[in-house]
């Protein structure tokens, strides 16, 4: 970690974004369990450093694809949490006007492709965005977020092969949280590191601690700038952990207690808070950021709950341009 290169302001920006995601998810979980929020949710608690570290390395015009677990990526890309919250409630003010919901959210204006909740579905799409950037000679990069499970999909292999053959500006980011729904990664692949799979396509692969936001940021920065300057794709594996269930009311009883305990000690916000304190940032500042964030989230909840639903007949719109 080259932490001395960072200003306190930048470090607090990382912190704020991670806390915004965490508090947002905790609030959503509560709303959901109370039965106030409809649908289903896949939450991001524990993986915040991945989204914040990677998305902080991007420039305007860069585009990401996300997954069925998209809230963290959307927030990290700077989408308005009011429009995210409203989408979760199925309101017309949502980022997809109520047609997407939790799993399909995004906003292309903010560089987030909406709508990709099929595991592995986004990998060729991100590859195509990179292909388009290259064909149109644009100085941009596509980033493809996926989970460990997606790397067993055919699209993963097809896409990495094409990105390699065509030398595309795409960064593939695998957030390895060790579980595909309830299945541990060791049951479904023999490789020790998912990044080993990059070698099959002769592209760079690297595995790092995905709970270390600065390490994630630096690794992403290097891969993104390499892609931007014509150096081709990279596969980054971020080792992390989902400290909540897979979806909805999943109590994650398949995660052994010892493993969970260890994960909670190593979770990214706790880890980064200790680091900030060691850098001399005061507890008061850290606490005040948390309070600010909570207020922002309450405003978003209020906005979402007070927003109108779409008209039932709006079902019939938006099919064709």
């Amino acid at each position: 970690m080259k932490e001395n290169y960072y200003s306190t302001e930048q470090l607090l920006m990382f912190y704020r974004k991670m806390v915004l995601i965490r508090e947002f998810e905790e609030r959503v979980k509560f709303l959901f369990l109370e039965g106030i929020m409809p649908g289903t949710i896949h939450q991001y608690q524990g993986q915040e450093a991945c989204a914040v570290g990677v998305c902080s390395a991007l420039k305007k015009g860069d585009i990401i694809t996300t997954t069925h677990r998209p809230h963290g990526h959307c927030i990290a890309m700077g989408m308005d949490i009011k429009s995210i919250m409203a989408e979760l409630f199925g309101k017309v003010t949502g980022c997809c006007r109520g047609k997407g919901g939790s799993m399909h959210m995004g906003d292309i204006e903010k560089g987030v492709v909406p709508g990709i909740a099929i595991v592995g579905g986004g990998i060729p799409i991100a590859t195509g965005i990179g292909f388009g950037f290259k064909m149109k000679n644009m100085p941009n990069v596509a980033v493809c977020f996926m989970g460990d499970g997606a790397t067993n999909e055919g699209t993963f292999h097809e896409s990495l092969n094409m990105a390699s053959v065509w030398n595309l500006p795409v960064v593939y980011v695998v957030e390895n949280n060790f579980y595909g729904a309830s299945t541990h990664v060791s049951l479904v692949m023999k490789v020790e590191k998912i990044s080993e799979r990059a070698s099959a396509y002769r592209i760079s692969g690297i595995t790092i601690d995905g709970n270390d936001v600065i390490k994630v940021y630096e690794t992403a920065m290097e891969a993104v700038e390499k892609a931007r300057s014509g150096g081709g794709p990279t596969l980054i594996e971020l080792l992390t952990y989902r400290i909540t269930g897979h979806s909805r009311r999943d109590p994650a009883t398949y995660q052994p207690p010892e493993e969970k305990k260890k994960a909670l000690e190593n979770e990214p916000i706790k880890k980064f808070t200790s680091f900030l304190l060691s850098r001399g940032v005061s507890k008061e500042i850290i606490e005040s950021i948390r309070e600010e964030v909570k207020i922002e989230i309450e405003e978003a909840v209020k906005y979402a709950m007070e927003s109108e639903y779409p008209l039932p007949e709006d079902t019939l719109n938006d099919l064709f341009a």
Binding site: C96, I125, S159, N161, A321
Partner: protein, 340 residues
Amino acid sequence: MARLTIAEALREAIREEMRRDENVYCIGEDIGIPGGWGGAFTVTLGLEKEFPDRIINTPISEAGFFGVALGSSLIGLRPIIDVQYGDFLFCAMDQIANQIAKLRYMSGGKVKIPIVIRAPVGVTGRGAQHSQMMEPFFHCLPGIKIVVPATAYDAKGLLKTAVRDDNPVLIFEHKLLYGAKGVRSESGSIDASSEIPEEEYTIPFGKAVVRKQGKDITIIATLLMMYRAYEAAQILEEQGISVEVIDPRSLVPFDWETVKKSIAKTGRVIIVEESPRRGGIGAEIAATIAEEMLDFLIAPVRRIAAPDTPAPFSPVMEKFYVPSTERIVQTVKEIINISS
């Protein structure tokens, strides 16, 4: 004016559209290879000479390159996807059905997906996995338009419209109608060539063509079946039965007005299709006619379709499988007999 086959007319349409708009490009398997085929049926043959960077040959990765096309369309490119056989669309089904068809809708109308997918179909001597008619699998899928050109004139005009459309468009091209030449020629082909005007033209979707006027019975048929229906109509004409043949040209959107007008005149209707009867296009057309045009009918709606089996290989069985001109003639006579 020049007489072109469907393969040539499609090639000219692609060439003109690529000249007109630099965002248009072709992507698929075995295209753009010097000394190669220009796709399975020669449609893109030689285009790489004029557009070396925009005829993109892919690995055999259908799900992959359909996704690539989609991703590229999100930033303003306008891909024309080339699949070797329509049957291979299943390999890319997640990208087509879950992503391409739904992305605009799920985004609340905030993205455009200008993608053309060209897919050869037709029961043509190859057995079950290279001979399917694919229309029914996509007809029930909201978010994709479906075009079925039976002549070279239509193929050119409809493809140009498809490329300019801001939505996904599937074009089903029939292997026996291409008029592909050389090593890629197709045995049993029939001539679907047309005189193609020098000046540019496009053909709007949702506008059927009445291929033959008639007053006793209406036959609705696309692609190869349109030719069979037309041939049957000629035979029946000599026997004093006047058949109207409608070629819808696009299935989504569908020209109900032309169908309605025809049935109002004839009171009888047959839908001929090359795919299995169950859940076919004919079922949808017949149901809508039953709901909305029953008052016009003086005989039950009939479907002539393939049996509910995969396409067989043996030429003997294949002949049994695909609706024939004789079967159409016979069915028309039956309907006329019971309703005269």
